[in-house]
């Protein structure tokens, strides 16, 4: 087929209107979410003292941190689904949860400690956290990668890592309502480790499946 013939064929297909990447990503995450919620409801569930926990600012802070990861990660991943897009100028959005955690750790340090620092950091749920967040992330990660496949990222591994951050941020939001460890030190340690694992998986898989 010579190039003029190909061009004629592409023009003949111009009536085909693909949806925007954002629409496909949203649909894919909405399809994946029930699976993650099912894992949550089956194995974890909301903590029993949730009504009183809501009066603890460090409990609420966990959701601020996880959502400040998930939402900017969605925005940046959609930006990077355009071939000419650069991370430059957008990457700082991903530092929001880091900044929030730093503020939270600082405020906790200024209060009279209820428990020694190592106990707050180690918590009671570190092992559950390390398994639960990645497990609940996996359906969402598959959804995010499926959605981003509709885009044209110039750096597939980076886009895959972003998909990992999206799914880990959403999974961690669910997990935060189960976990009784509210210290920002615990969040900064274990949530971060779980997120790093999911991000690495996202980058590895993304490098393969996000090429266009």
């Amino acid at each position: 087929m010579d190039t003029d013939q190909l061009i004629r064929t592409l023009a003949a297909d111009n009536a085909h209107r693909p949806p925007r990447v954002g629409a496909v990503l949203t649909m894919a995450l909405l399809v994946a979410a029930p699976l993650s919620i099912l894992i949550f409801a089956t194995f974890l569930g909301v903590r029993h003292d949730v009504m009183s926990a809501m009066h603890n600012p460090f409990f609420d802070m966990k959701f601020a941190v996880t959502l400040s990861l998930a939402i900017p990660a969605i925005i940046v991943s959609l930006h990077l689904s355009r071939p000419e897009a650069l991370l430059r100028g957008w990457g700082w959005l991903l530092l929001l949860p880091v900044g929030l955690l730093a503020v939270a750790i600082g405020s906790e340090a200024m209060m009279a400690p209820a428990m020694p620092m190592t106990m707050r950091l180690m918590g009671k749920n570190s092992r559950v956290c390390l398994f639960a967040i990645p497990a609940m992330s996996l359906p969402l990660l598959a959804g995010a990668l499926f959605g981003l496949r509709h885009g044209a990222p110039s750096h597939p591994a980076l886009a895959g890592a972003l998909a990992g951050l999206v799914s880990a941020g959403l999974a961690a939001t669910l997990y935060a309502s189960h976990c009784t460890d509210d210290s920002p030190l615990f969040v900064a340690t274990w949530y971060t480790l779980a997120t790093a694992l999911v991000t690495a998986i996202g980058a590895l898989v993304g490098a393969k499946v996000l090429r266009y």
């Binding site: 061009i7 023009a11 003949a12 693909p18 990447v21 689904s81 090429r211 266009y212």
Partner: protein
């Protein structure tokens, strides 16, 4: 150069609004520029220029299948050249070459002289033969025999909608095969 790129952006906007003729004009207009850039990139990597047409066709397919990622408020050329660079890098990687893609190969200011001849390209044509029968028939009919969608539908006793679906799926399958080869 500015004028040419503004013209491309305008054509792409019309194309996205459903103007098939503007789309055809745009693809015709960018092809010699892509061809020249592909040749420069191959020369820089120490590769013979005879693969340039394969790269051009891969770029055109990617432009087509990913045109929804273009932001109609943004200029068209940087988006186009980003796809061009990616496809050139992919091709060199498949050939196992070290990558020395200079971003200037797909830069926004290019010399005016561009080779016009259409060289035959082998990869799209050979992957075409691996498609399912119906997609191959439809693509052959529209591309090679330059039959309209309407007449292709009559020829194969299909509805026009079915021809459109087979056409789009065929192009998507072709692109996937080229990417994964």
């Amino acid at each position: 150069m500015r004028g040419r790129e503004d013209e491309w952006t305008g054509l792409m906007r019309s194309a996205m609004a459903g103007d098939d003729a503007a789309y055809h004009r745009l693809l015709k207009a960018v092809t010699p520029v892509l061809r020249a850039a592909a040749r420069r990139g191959l020369a820089r990597a120490g590769q013979p220029p005879d693969q340039a047409e394969d790269i051009v066709q891969e770029i055109l397919l990617a432009v087509h299948l990913k045109r929804h990622t273009w932001d109609s408020e943004a200029p068209f050329a940087p988006w186009l050249f980003a796809i061009g660079r990616n496809k050139l890098i992919d091709m060199l990687r498949r050939r196992g070459r070290r990558i020395f893609v200079n971003i200037d190969d797909f830069a926004e200011t290019l010399p005016g002289e561009v080779p016009q001849e259409t060289v035959s390209a082998g990869e799209v044509a050979s992957q075409l033969n691996t498609l399912p029968q119906r997609q191959r028939d439809v693509l052959q009919s529209i591309a090679v025999d330059s039959t309209s969608i309407k007449d292709t539908a009559a020829k194969y006793a299909m509805s026009e909608g079915a021809v459109r679906v087979a056409l789009h799926r065929g192009l998507a399958a072709l692109t996937a095969k080229l990417r994964d080869q």
